[in-house]
Structures are given as structure tokens and as C-alpha cells.
Symmetry: C2
Subunit: 169 residues, 2 copies
């Protein structure tokens, strides 16, 4: 089973592609970020997010995608820009008819560190340990995306043990 | 000059394609809606919005797209879902490197009826008059999209007369 985790943001979208058959055997196929500069227009950012995700799906042929729940930030303008980025990302994976599942940021962190809190650096350390790779190979902005992918993997493989609420969006 | 106007919404996205050289000679090449049922998942709705818009761009080869400004509704959840639809639509036209311009709903209405207010039926009537077609040929949910396209046309052709604020997004 191959899962694409996506942590969308207009200027920096993290992604993580994992392959797993059982929870004790998770492989990272790829992880990284789609970086957009501050100067880029939103339309260009969205084009790059959509294009980048489609390249990943083309290459790795994941079975499903896992992204963050929409959460309602204090700043409505920021929340709406984030929602645009989510819309572009979801439309991109849906072009391939991939099912898309959502998890709260808290659930994703809990899947890795056991609690709903933790810095990106802590999560990178736990991920490196879990996946048997070096933290240096995990860009900090891709940790949440990897966590989202693993969280969904846990839900699929051991649903009886998983307490993570999910929705197919 | 060919302009694609898009009035996005998750369940019903209106579109209007116009061709114009001067303001007195506007032709409607197409107008209609991309309709999604209430039962469809958001991912499927976004896929259909993106796919529908790409078909229009493929077919009519517009020079630019005109869409509504992001506006901050009272209901943040609704605003965020609308933003997802906008994100999918903007990413779709940006794939073709089309410039995307935004106008307030008020500006778009003003371009047609002279004031910032007016029901869809009133706008359809004014549009039919302006374009020399029957109101029956204008689906009500595409009136705002046509108004957005015409508003952008006015801005491009007679910028000295236009008072509509625009942003290239």
C-alpha cells in the first residue's frame, strides 16, 4: 500500500510518500517540499502545487492520499488562502480518482510521537527512528506530511487499534 | 480578445466565455454551469470544477480569466469551502498560464446594471439586452460569471473609463 501525505500551504507544501504492508515495515519512498517564493502570485503558487502533486502521483502511483482537516484559524484571510491551496491539491489527486482522507494535525502527530503535540524537529527525530533513516533526510516542512501518511496507514492496517477520526473528503 | 468569467461555488460553478474587440461588440461564445450534486464528495466536486474549466480553456483558448474576489462571509466554514473551489478553478486556468484577474461581485454587477445591486434575473435581462440574445439562453447561475467577464473586458478596453478595482491574483 502506497500513501501520499500532503501538508498544504500556499508558500510551502510538504509531501511524503510511504509504502507499508504492516506497521512494523514502513518505507519512505520520497519526502520533500513544493516551495513557492513570497513574490509569486497565488495563481502561480497553485499551479506549482497542483503540478508538483500530479508529478508525485504519476511517479509513485499511490493508493490514497492523506491531508490535514480544514481547521478554522483565527485569521480568516489566512484560512481562506490555505483553503485555496487545499482545493488545488485535492483537485490534483482527484484527477487520478485517488480517495482522499483527512486527519487533524493532532491525530497525525499522535501517530508518530504518541501525543498530539510536538515540534517539527521532535517529529523528524521520531520519524527517523521509526523509519530507520537520518533526520537530515527529512526536510522539516515535510514531517507533517509524513505523519499524515503514517496516520492514515495505521488507520488502514490496524483500524481496531486506531483512535484517529477520519473523513473521506 | 476572449475572456473566461468564472463564478465558483462547490455545488454550482457558473461560467461565461465572451469575445470582444470594443465594448459595443460583445459576443457570448458560451455560458453555463458545472453542477455538482449534494451527495458528491468535495474531492469529486473539485475534480469536476477543474476538469470542466480545463475543457473550456482547451476549446475557447481565452486570453485571460476573471473571477470573484475572495470575500469573507460570516460563516467561516462556508468561506473555506468556497475558497477550495476557487483554488481548484485558479489552478486549472493557471495550468495554461492564463492571467487571472479578480473583481468584487459589486463591480461585476455594476458593469452590467450600472449599480452594485441587482438580482440574477435582472442581470440576465440586462445581459440579454446588451448581448442581443434571449434571457432563456442564459442560465441564471451563469449571469455572475458573464458579468465578471464583461467587467474585465471593460477594464481592458476602456481602462480610462473603468472604476473597477482589479487585482491580478
Amino acid at each position: 500500500m502506497i500513501i501520499l501525505g500532503i501538508d498544504t500551504a500556499i508558500r510551502c507544501t510538504g509531501y511524503g510518500v510511504i509504502q507499508l504492508d504492516k506497521m512494523s515495515d514502513i518505507k519512505v519512498l520520497d519526502c520533500g517540499i513544493i516551495k513557492n517564493t513570497q513574490k509569486m502570485k497565488h495563481s502561480e503558487c497553485l499551479r506549482r502545487i497542483s503540478g508538483g502533486i500530479k508529478e508525485l502521483v504519476d511517479h509513485f502511483k499511490p493508493n490514497s492520499a492523506s491531508i490535514e482537516d480544514a481547521f478554522y484559524g483565527k485569521n480568516i484571510k489566512t484560512s481562506m488562502i490555505l483553503s485555496m491551496a487545499r482545493g488545488a491539491a485535492i483537485a490534483a489527486v482527484s484527477e487520478y480518482k485517488l480517495p482522499v482522507f483527512t486527519y487533524s494535525p493532532r491525530s497525525a502527530k499522535k501517530a508518530i510521537v504518541g501525543t498530539g503535540k510536538g515540534s517539527k524537529a521532535q517529529i523528524a527525530l521520531m520519524l527517523a527512528n521509526l523509519l530507520g533513516i537520518n533526520t537530515i533526510d527529512i526536510p522539516l516542512d515535510s514531517t507533517d506530511a509524513l505523519a499524515l501518511a503514517i496516520c492514515h496507514g495505521q488507520n488502514k492496517i490496524r483500524p481496531e487499534l486506531s483512535t484517529f477520526l477520519t473523513n473521506e473528503i
